[in-house]
């Protein structure tokens, strides 16, 4: 198990280095960082000094190594547009995005598994057909339209929920949470539904398909032949076998919730990283883009690791495989 975790950790590190290389290349080759920071009117002297101070005169591998070293400490320099340290910008906005993404992920997984199991068990029921058709419409519905639709109904017409922002937040150290106030919680509802909806339809369809597949397996027939009740077969025997493939794909999907938050945050003017990134793209603010890219990659690596560990917990075949590998 240890060896297996180490291997996926090494793979994750490799992905991080590859993404870091892309981020670094953006830094180095998109526009001239010196011009970007000093403006067109700076003197030659100023430019030479800054070039030296930024280490831009060093050989390429040295610069890349420095970049990775800085990135590991969360330092990506100063935003071209806002003139503030990128690490500060990220830290301010991280809680908003993480709270949104985490709640969406929980919503999408929970509701997705429930609906998927329901649709699989009551295969030809009216409600499951409705849910399945709805999910197909959902795939064709762009995220931003869902958000706009929710805003129109619940903020403009019914005036139940705020249409933008996080509401009041409470500071716990450097972490600003919206979970502790009424207005903060109300503000979360629509963004969470919007962000979670796409993943929900995806997970639901996946769970249904996998479960129907598992229900055709021989061991299910054998369980019936042993006299096990249908509900026990569905919820004990079939569900666990269903969840193994679902965990992988759902896990990867949830990693992308962070990136999908870009759209949701724009619709709800949510002060998170996604909105920061969209602004950076509009103005080619390379340090912010690079930092965001590294952040998303890091989230992916962490999610992958968690998925691998969950896999171990769920599938005994892997556990003994790892035991064997360790024995040799």
């Amino acid at each position: 198990m240890l060896a297996y975790s180490l291997r996926s950790l090494a793979q994750g590190a490799l992905v991080l280095v590859a993404v870091a290389f892309i981020a670094f290349s953006m830094f180095r080759f998109v526009g001239d960082p010196v011009v970007n920071m000093l403006g067109q009117e700076a003197t030659l002297q100023d430019r030479r000094e800054l070039t030296e101070r930024l280490g831009l005169d060093a050989p390429f591998p040295v610069q890349f190594a420095r970049f990775i070293g800085n990135a590991a400490r969360g330092e990506f320099g100063v935003s071209y547009r806002q003139g503030r340290k990128v690490s500060d910008l990220i830290r301010e906005r991280l809680p908003a995005t993480l709270e949104l993404a985490l709640l969406s992920a929980i919503f999408a997984t929970g509701a997705g598994i429930l609906l998927g199991v329901y649709a699989a068990i009551n295969r030809d029921g009216f409600l499951s057909n409705l849910v399945m058709t709805g999910s197909l419409v959902g795939v064709s519905l762009p995220t931003f339209l869902i958000g706009i639709g929710l805003i129109y109904v619940f903020a403009v017409e019914l005036r139940w929920l705020p249409s933008f922002g996080r509401g009041e937040t409470v500071a716990l150290g450097w972490w600003n949470t919206g979970l502790l106030t009424d207005s903060g919680r109300k503000s979360l509802i629509m963004p969470v539904l919007t962000l979670g909806f796409f993943q929900l339809t995806l997970i639901m369809r996946l769970v249904r398909a996998e479960m129907l597949e598992v229900m055709r397996a021989e061991f299910i027939r054998f369980a019936r032949a042993r006299g096990v009740g249908e509900r026990t077969i569905q919820l004990r025997h079939a569900l666990r076998n269903t969840l193994i493939p679902v965990v992988t794909i759902a896990g990867l999907q949830l990693g992308s919730v962070i990136a999908f938050a870009i759209v949701t945050e724009t619709v709800f003017q949510w002060p998170g990283l996604g909105a920061l990134f969209v602004n950076a793209v509009q103005f080619a603010d390379v340090p912010v883009m690079a930092a965001y890219l590294m952040f998303v990659a890091a989230v992916f690596v962490v999610v992958n690791l968690i998925v691998d560990l969950t896999y171990f917990a769920l599938d005994p075949r892997l556990r003994s495989g790892a035991r064997l590998a360790k024995g040799h």
């Binding site: 992905v15 590859a18 953006m26 998109v30 526009g31 197909l136 419409v137 795939v139 064709s140 519905l141 762009p142 995220t143 931003f144 339209l145 706009i148 805003i151 129109y152 403009v156 249409s163 990867l252 990693g255 992308s256 990136a259 999908f260 870009i262 759209v263 724009t266 990134f277 969209v278 950076a280 793209v281 509009q282 103005f283 080619a284 390379v286 883009m289 890219l293 998303v296 992916f300």
Partner: protein, 325 residues
């Protein structure tokens, strides 16, 4: 497949041209795919909707009531007319209403759909060609070429397309001088969306290529030393077109949504040459004051278009039944 040549010469009073075409048409009508199509009401309805919308969008300059982006045709007095109601000053009525500048929303939607479809179709064509070529190379050549291509595809597939498109777009913004950025947007969008979607084609085509490569006819072609690219194009490509068509159809819906999303985020088509996404972005600000139609009709067009194409893609996947995951 080659059409069956008639053995006897055609009678002289019949022109030879339509002769071989008729059986071809009849064959197409009689094929399994056509049968499946005629027995699926959902597919037929979706095709009807999609074709109507595509037709209306392509013919927009001919059928739209006005050119919504020619200032000379707009009348400010006619601004904010409700759908189907007569304007209080001029008495003119607009089926889909009008925006604050007196622009007919029906015309705006038709022109917007035209831009959306153009970007969607072009980016799908781009990613399909790019992905198929890389997939063929990976599958046929193998070795290091395969390892590198598939590794990049794997990494890219684990990130959402919208993020990749945004990055490509942002980088291009940094490289292209500001003065030319607006003109370049269309091309940039096509490239960004196209480049963010090639990996799925490459993966599928590589898989099919590996299967075809092992078959006898390809082995025979290799034995007689046909050049690699001839074998790939003549022998392998036709056999992977089924899955590619399915992916391309579904991707067309995705690309249209992706373009709308980018434009909605403000990094796509500018308001002077709007796509459906831009129109929705602009319309959003009128939602709070109750002028819902400025947003509603572009949104409806977008959803119907995406849904119809998605349903066709779904049906096509079932009908052709290639092994897709």
């Amino acid at each position: 497949m080659r059409s069956h040549e008639p053995e006897t010469a055609p009678p002289e009073n019949v022109s030879p041209a339509p002769e071989p075409r008729l059986p071809a048409l009849a064959r197409a009508w009689d094929s399994d795919l056509a049968h499946a199509f005629r027995s699926s009401p959902v597919a037929m309805l979706s095709a009807l909707i999609a074709l109507t919308m595509i037709g209306a969008a392509v013919l927009a300059p001919l059928i739209a009531p006005q050119n919504p982006f020619n200032p000379a045709e707009l009348n400010l007095m006619e601004g904010m007319t409700r759908p189907g109601q007569a304007n209080e000053f001029t008495g003119r009525s607009f089926l889909f209403g009008s925006d604050p500048q007196g622009r007919d929303m029906l015309s705006a939607v038709l022109y917007g759909a035209r831009v959306s479809l153009l970007v969607g179709a072009a980016s799908v064509a781009f990613s399909a060609v790019f992905g198929v070529v890389l997939g063929l190379m990976a599958g046929y050549l193998g070795g290091r070429v395969e390892a590198i291509i598939m590794r990049i595809a794997d990494i890219q597939l684990s990130f959402p397309a919208i993020l990749i498109a945004l990055l490509i777009f942002g980088v291009a913004r940094g490289v292209i001088p500001p003065a030319q950025q607006e003109d370049a947007t269309l091309i940039l969008l096509i490239l960004a969306i196209g480049l963010s979607n090639w990996a799925q084609y490459a993966r599928t085509v590589r898989g099919s290529t590996l299967i075809e490569k092992g078959k006898e006819y390809v082995q025979a072609a290799r034995v007689i030393r046909r050049p690699a690219f001839v074998i790939m194009l003549r022998h392998i490509l036709p056999n992977v077109m089924g899955p590619v068509t399915v992916i391309a159809t579904i991707n067309l819906a995705l690309a249209i949504i992706e373009e709308a999303t980018l434009s909605f985020l403000g990094v796509g088509m500018p308001p002077t040459q709007p796509s459906l996404g831009t129109l929705i972005r602009v319309g959003q600000q009128f939602l709070f004051s109750g002028e819902w139609w400025i947003l509603f009709f572009p949104a409806l067009m977008l959803v119907l278009l995406a849904l119809a194409i998605n349903l066709i893609g779904d049906w096509l996947r079932d009908a052709l039944n290639p092994r897709l995951k």
